[in-house]
């Protein structure tokens, strides 16, 4: 249990207080005060390990045994940022081979992929090594099991931007989207590679949406996009656009009463807002023509 690798059978786990190599160290109990609150009923192994961790932290011991201790402590609670921070100080102090540490943290990440601390540890190692060659592979391994894992995407974006690893990203996103077109994390990643601009002025978008609408599709998402385009055009003065206040009203009342009733109040609010924009627009025009 002192190790992350479950396949290796390393025999009976020995408490630190029973290990001869720790005999010179006095364990430090957690100081919860006289009347502890939110007290956790720790297992024996947990308490034992952290008693020694506190002792090591107190004397700022930088040693192989302290490094091994942080491994057990991080295994028992991977969210203990103090353990990880101290482990990094030991790694530096002992001038350890960071590639070994990369292999270690990879194993941890594959088991604990929804944890801030383990990903941060990885990122610091990559920064120290200035080598991001294994990162895309690692994030792909995590995303293969959990395609929306926020930490994995964040790590991936960071290495792509920092080490200019854009090549092949579009193809990778496409494979994810063909697995699940509703994977919004993949769509977000796609935007990393594109510029954004107003929807209502993009002829491809408007043509596609209008054809879909004419074919009888009343998906609330489609209607919502059309409302947004009305808002955009009315806001900008519109001209002869088909995205008018009247169109917005019609769409919003369909959404309110038929297709998206849970958001009825929002659609009413949108009618009011667009109406107000339209009024401000005509007032502005009247104002400027008298000048």
């Amino acid at each position: 249990m002192s190790d992350y690798s479950s396949d290796e059978n390393e025999g009976e786990f020995v408490l630190y207080r029973n290990r001869p190599e720790w005999r010179d160290v006095t364990p430090v109990k957690q100081d919860d005060g006289e009347e502890p609150v939110v007290a956790i009923d720790y297992t024996e192994a947990y308490e034992d390990c952290y008693d020694y961790f506190r002792a090591v932290l107190k004397t700022k011991e930088v040693s192989e045994r302290a490094l091994e201790l942080t491994q057990t402590a991080s295994y028992l609670n991977p969210a203990n940022y103090t353990v990880w921070q101290y482990r990094r100080e030991i790694l530096k102090g002992l001038n350890k081979d960071l590639n070994e540490e990369l292999d270690f943290i990879q194993k941890v990440i594959l088991k604990q992929s929804k944890n801030y601390q383990v990903w941060h540890h990885r990122r610091v190692l990559v920064e120290w090594l200035q080598d991001a060659s294994k990162e895309k592979y690692l994030t792909e391994a995590v995303l293969a099991k959990d395609a929306k894992n926020y930490h994995a995407w964040q790590h991936r974006q960071w290495v792509i931007k920092t080490f200019n690893l854009y090549d092949g990203e579009l193809e990778y996103i496409d494979t994810l989207l063909s697995d699940d077109v509703r994977n919004n994390s993949a769509w977000n990643q796609r935007l990393l590679l594109h510029d954004k601009g107003g929807l209502s002025k993009n002829k491809h978008v408007t043509k596609f949406c209008e054809e879909l609408y004419k074919s009888g599709n009343h998906s609330p998402f489609l209607l919502a996009v059309l409302v947004d385009m009305c808002y955009e055009q009315v806001n900008e003065g519109g001209g002869d656009s088909v995205y008018t206040l009247e169109r917005a009203k019609e769409l919003c009342s369909d959404l309110m009463t038929k297709y998206d009733t849970v958001r009825a109040k929002y659609w009413q609010y949108m009618i009011d807002t667009i109406e107000k924009k339209a009024r401000e627009g005509t007032e502005d025009e009247a104002g400027s023509s008298t000048n």
Partner: protein
């Protein structure tokens, strides 16, 4: 003014099942499964309603009992939260205070003393005694102490040291690391702003460029992400919006886009909120997403667009929380089939509070004893408790002044 809300029509709920457009994928299959389990809860309730017209009920007594028991004892299953013990205090104290539970002074003092043990000699609070100071631990410790609200609680915070800690995790671009050498994301900025504003140590120097950094986290969808470029996410959207409002720079973000994104996170059938587009409903987002609404109302009001009503369906949200998220033995949870925990108990009840209060109005689904107190959306603490703390710390002045007089 109290307004009684009524359940949605079960026929309408049945009709609002998500359409897969004859193209099912992993996301839509998971969504259908959740809808089935939620719909079953709603169908069951409509049957039980014939016997007990008082449903749905908030199981206040059970929740109180559950929360009070966790103050003294947590099983070893909570070892994974051993670096989040001030959080545990806050997650327990806040829902209790929403339900009007008063702790006796000795109990309060025990909690204050424990949090004092978590305070670092270099300022800020760690996740437990002796742990390095961390912004999230600091945020939850300060919130917990403010809720306790005693002189002892207020005074245990070393404000001068706290300011030094905040400065030590501030980055040159205005963002904040969670601890020295730790990860940088939008939680850091929010936690730093929340504790600085609550304890009266906020200075513009400390938060130079922070608003601009936060705005760079607003995504094309309209919500905020953890750091620039990432996907919009409920927890981070709450952090981003609250942080901007504390800085009085709410006008810098695209409010219309944020509103659009927010309202679309409310699930058609379930009535609760999801955290991200095409993810599943989860009770805790009732607060992360729901709590953003009152903040947004205040920003819209500044533009003369004061909403006349909630802009989400507060009745559907209350339905989800009361019918799908309560454990019969106390405590609340993410969604049917999950187990209760103090985190979800805190944020589901906070979300319920948001849904029950609109400006000065109270809207309650079920019997009026389901009502709970209002929460301050910036800090997620009762507004009367926030006011008391602000007054206390404002009277103390900024730590710098204290220091000057102290040196004389």
């Amino acid at each position: 003014m109290e307004k009684k809300l009524y359940l949605r029509n079960i026929l309408d709920i049945r009709k609002s099942k998500n359409r897969t457009e004859s193209y099912p994928t992993k996301s839509s299959e998971e969504q259908s499964d959740v809808e089935d389990s939620v719909l079953k809860k709603y169908e069951d309730l409509h049957i039980k309603l014939k016997i007990n017209p008082n449903l749905p009920e908030l199981l206040k007594e059970q929740h109180k009992k559950y929360l009070l028991s966790t103050i003294v004892y947590l099983s070893h299953a909570y070892e994974c939260l051993d670096a989040s013990r001030p959080w545990l205090c806050y997650w327990i104290l806040h829902p209790l205070s929403l339900m009007g539970v008063r702790l006796d002074d000795t109990r309060k003092s025990h909690i204050v003393k424990f949090l004092g043990k978590c305070q670092s000699p270099s300022g800020g609070f760690g996740g437990g005694p002796g742990q390095f100071p961390h912004l999230a631990a600091t945020y939850s410790a300060v919130n917990a102490l403010v809720i306790l609200g005693t002189e002892e609680a207020y005074n245990i915070i070393d404000r001068k040291k706290l300011q030094e800690f905040l400065l030590s995790v501030r980055q040159p671009d205005g963002s904040f690391a969670m601890h020295i050498g730790g990860e940088i994301d939008i939680r850091g900025a929010y936690c730093a702003l929340a504790v600085a504003s609550l304890t009266g140590i906020l200075t513009m120097d400390l938060f130079k460029d922070t608003a601009e950094w936060i705005v760079s986290c607003q995504t094309y969808e309209g919500g905020f992400s953890g750091c620039p470029g990432m996907e919009a996410h409920g927890g981070y959207a709450f952090c981003g919006l609250s942080a901007l409002v504390i800085l009085q720079k709410g006008h810098l973000c695209d409010k219309q886009a944020l509103l659009r994104w927010l309202v679309h996170r409310q699930m058609r059938l379930e009535g609760g909120f999801q955290g991200r587009t095409n993810k599943l409903v989860d009770g805790c987002y009732s607060f992360w997403q729901g709590g953003a609404f009152p903040l947004l109302y205040s920003l819209l009001a500044k533009d003369g667009n004061t909403p006349q009503d909630h802009l989400f369906d507060e009745r559907a949200l209350q339905e989800y929380l009361l019918i799908c998220c309560q454990s019969p033995t106390g405590g609340l949870l993410d969604k049917p089939g999950k187990i209760r925990d103090v985190f979800h108990t805190c944020y589901t009840l906070s979300g319920l509070s948001v849904a029950q209060h609109f400006l000065e109005e109270i809207r309650i689904l079920g019997p009026s004893k389901n009502g709970i107190a209002c929460t301050h959306p910036l800090y997620n603490i009762r507004p009367d408790i926030v006011r008391k703390a602000l007054l206390y710390y404002n009277n103390l002045g900024t730590p710098k002044q204290e220091n000057q007089t102290g040196n004389m």
